[in-house]
Symmetry: C2
Subunit: 129 residues, 2 copies
DNA sequence: ACTTGACTTAGAGTTTACTCCAACCTGTAT
DNA sequence: ATACAGGTTGGAGTAAACTCTAAGTCAAGT
């Protein structure tokens, strides 16, 4: 699979894909004899993993750390699981934070909905804007 | 309320607070006669709003846009509400994305939990890492 | 009077994660 | 043969959001 095909499938740019390889978020991709990247099933798996973790807000350096562990073999199962658990806690916290902000936001939107009818914007106590 | 007190209350740095003022995320803060920032109730309200929106992942420029609308008076209720609705849609999408990645992550963690018992890491079809 | 500590400014520097560029190679189509 | 489409590299550039620095002001304490 060429770099272009992978890009189209995952909606990312070739530059990003090469960048991911450079920083170790994905290991060196298989090449044709002309030195052109030819993504194997396994390479695609690495790309999916990278995108999954990046989408989850995991910093590039942490994904690289995970990949280094993966390449060190079976003794790193525990370290890998712990890293993924850490990532999970981060996402859970982030979702909770977003949900709190979402509530405040919906409250504000309701206030504006009211204001659009009454012509007057009113906040409950503790809210000023 | 001094800049330091506000910082402590909201766990941000004085630099960040001054930066927020500079870029218009919060309007010019009240000053003492010595030109020292002295946050009023209203200023604090602006700070809370800024932090709420930034925590929700809203870009600085969009918060500034919202604040500009707020300072233009009652004719901008509609525009403000629409901006907040847009922000809300963004957060909802982000939460959904995080929840999808969370599921993949929990699957992986379970696989590692198994591997730590059996000594063998096994993926279902479609997963390689 | 002098030091200390907390504030002020403008502007430069940093970090993260890309994104672009110039120069080059190579197989296929005209 | 030559143009073109698509790849390659190292390295420079960019955007966003801070974060730091230098130089200065000011009030209080010794």
């Amino acid at each position: 699979m060429t770099i272009k095909e992978v890009c189209e499938q995952y909606h990312i740019s070739p530059d990003t894909l090469r960048y991911y390889e450079r920083v170790g978020i994905i290991p060196a991709v298989h090449r044709t004899k002309n030195n052109i990247r030819d993504y194997t099933e396994q390479d695609i798996g690495f790309v999916e993993n990278a995108l999954c973790m990046r989408n989850a807000g995991v910093p590039v350096e942490m994904v690289a750390q995970y990949m280094r562990l993966c390449q060190q073999g079976d003794e790193t199962f525990l370290a890998r699981r712990d890293l993924l658990r850490e990532v999970r806690e981060g996402i859970v916290k982030q979702i909770e934070k977003y949900q709190r902000e979402l509530e405040r936001l919906e409250y504000k939107i309701r206030r504006y909905d009211d204001a659009l009818v009454t012509g007057k914007l009113v906040w409950d106590e503790n809210e000023t804007i």
